[in-house]
């Protein structure tokens, strides 16, 4: 772990891996809920980092952090969110070809994987889900689509993501869900927050 100062009151903690970042994030949330974390305005995990904003004494916190004993990623602290999905995306055949399997097997492999929301970004409620083995990583589309419908389930790198609303996007689309990813009138607004375990449940017969 390497804490990097960011501006006047933030710290970017760089980790060796996404798993280490996930473990640090879980530990930060645990300490915040038990009231032993110094005041922060934001805790933002990402691919290999966790950003802490609004620290009164970022340098001091960096020193404290170096002494923490961070347990490996704890078993999920919250319930698994199950997302029903129809594996009918326009890029399903292409993904199947890249994986060297049939479309049906893409659905099977994807719906058997155990995912975790590593981090969010791009749009409110858009989660970057890890859980697919690295060998299933696929590139982003060379030319992004100008409009991807809400509920589209896509792959980019080894991440899976679901478009909370219609937007431009370059992920390879393998399916569709009716799950509401983002509703600001709901509590919580985001169905998927960092750390949430996720499973995709294939809808209908394959």
């Amino acid at each position: 772990m390497r804490p990097l100062p960011v501006g006047e009151d933030a710290l970017l903690v760089e980790c060796a891996s996404g798993e280490e970042a996930g473990a640090l994030h879980a530990e930060l949330l645990r300490r915040r809920s038990e009231g032993t974390l110094p005041g922060v305005t934001e805790i933002v995990p990402a691919a290999r980092t966790v950003l802490l904003c609004g620290l009164a004494e970022p340098r001091r916190f960096a020193t404290l952090l170096a002494q923490w004993d961070i347990p490996p990623m704890p078993p999920a602290m919250r319930e698994t969110v199950e997302i029903p999905v129809r594996y009918d995306g326009p890029d399903l055949a292409e993904v199947a070809a890249m994986w060297g399997v049939t479309a049906g097997e893409v659905a099977r492999i994807h719906s058997q994987a155990r995912f975790r929301v590593a981090f969010c970004g791009f749009a409110p409620g858009f989660g970057y889900l890890t859980g697919l083995p690295e060998r299933y990583a696929v590139p982003r589309m060379a030319t992004p689509r100008t409009a991807v419908p809400a509920g589209s389930v896509g792959l980019a790198g080894a991440y899976t993501g679901i478009y909370p609303r219609s937007s431009p996007g370059g992920w390879q689309l393998i399916g569709t869900t009716d799950a509401v990813l983002w509703d600001p009138t709901r509590e919580p607004a985001a169905l998927l927050a960092p750390g949430t375990p996720v499973r995709f449940v294939a809808d209908g017969a394959l």
């Binding site: 006047e8 995990p45 966790v50 969010c120 409110p124 607004a189 985001a190 960092p194």
Partner: protein
């Protein structure tokens, strides 16, 4: 009948409702948002007797006009501009009493970009995640003002500020941004870091509430691998592939994959909110002890 509301007569180029934004949701991808020039919006609120958390209007370059359906105290701050009430000149940077039915016209910015218009009681559109701010990146909060739109006002709480005219520094001829280097200054060449300090940059016309873009010499990277997405802060100076620094403002994305060479000091950001396209920008790198 007390109809505490405003009717938009002239929406202007881009007028949005802004308050202190919605911090605390960056982890689910929600930008902080909120007024770009915080000191100006706070001053406008104080002048009309509001708390600084009340929602105000933020105009862009050419002001706006609203009809008050009720008697209300109004104050305009930020970018200096002509203010009229039913066509009669009124004070800028001071509380102005407006009778029901009168039209408040906020003119073109004489200098700067964004004027702030506070109303006693505050603009009382429904909050989203605790804020009334329009977030142009993710579309949260009320839509930008449109002609004939109606905006509810809250009940006036405090007495208007007792100052007659509030002194406020006008926008400077040159935007000076102190940049605390890091977290990714080591992704750039030594020459690039020197260039950041001495290069002649100007505010680019593509600037908006998401970021202040610059025209000027490209910053050369020392590393060309891809940076995995990481959390972004307000004021981050992100360097996209074209090498021209972008200063992240209130509606900035919460994560990003281009390296951040440094972060602009918080108190310099109000100036960034008021720097019109073409304004010279001087970055002053400040080394940070690791």
């Amino acid at each position: 009948m007390t109809d505490r509301a405003l009717v938009v007569v002239r929406a202007g180029a881009l007028t949005t409702v802004q308050d202190l934004g919605r911090p605390g949701h960056a982890h689910v991808g929600v930008p902080g948002s909120g007024a770009l020039d915080r000191p100006a919006s706070a001053l406008a609120n104080r002048l009309v007797g509001n708390g600084i958390e009340a929602a105000v209007l933020e105009t862009t370059l050419n002001g706006c006009a609203v009809r008050a359906r009720c008697a209300v105290t109004v104050a305009v701050t930020g970018a200096p501009c002509a203010v009229t009430v039913d066509g009669r000149p009124a004070a800028w940077g001071a509380p102005v009493t407006v009778t029901a039915g009168a039209v408040v016209e906020v003119g073109h910015a004489v200098r700067g970009v964004r004027s702030y218009v506070a109303f006693s009681g505050g603009v009382a559109v429904d909050p989203v995640l605790g804020s009334r701010s329009t977030d142009l990146l993710s579309g949260l909060g009320p839509a930008p003002l449109a002609d004939a739109a109606v905006l509810p006002l809250g009940e006036a709480a405090g007495a208007p500020g007792r100052v007659d005219v509030a002194p406020a520094p006008g926008p400077a001829d040159e935007l000076v941004l102190h940049v605390l280097l890091g977290p990714r200054d080591d992704w750039f060449t030594k020459a690039a870091l020197r260039m950041l300090a001495v290069g002649s940059y100007r505010v680019a016309s593509a600037s908006n509430r998401i970021g202040l873009r610059t025209d000027g010499p490209a910053l050369e990277r020392a590393r060309h691998d891809e940076l995995p997405s990481e959390g972004m802060v307000l004021g981050a100076v992100q360097v996209p592939p074209d090498g021209r620094p972008v200063v992240f403002l209130a509606d900035h994305p919460t994560t990003g994959g281009y390296p951040v060479v440094g972060v602009v000091r918080g108190r310099d950001l109000a100036g960034a909110a008021q720097a019109a396209p073409g304004t010279p920008v001087r970055f002053v790198p400040v080394p940070v002890r690791r």
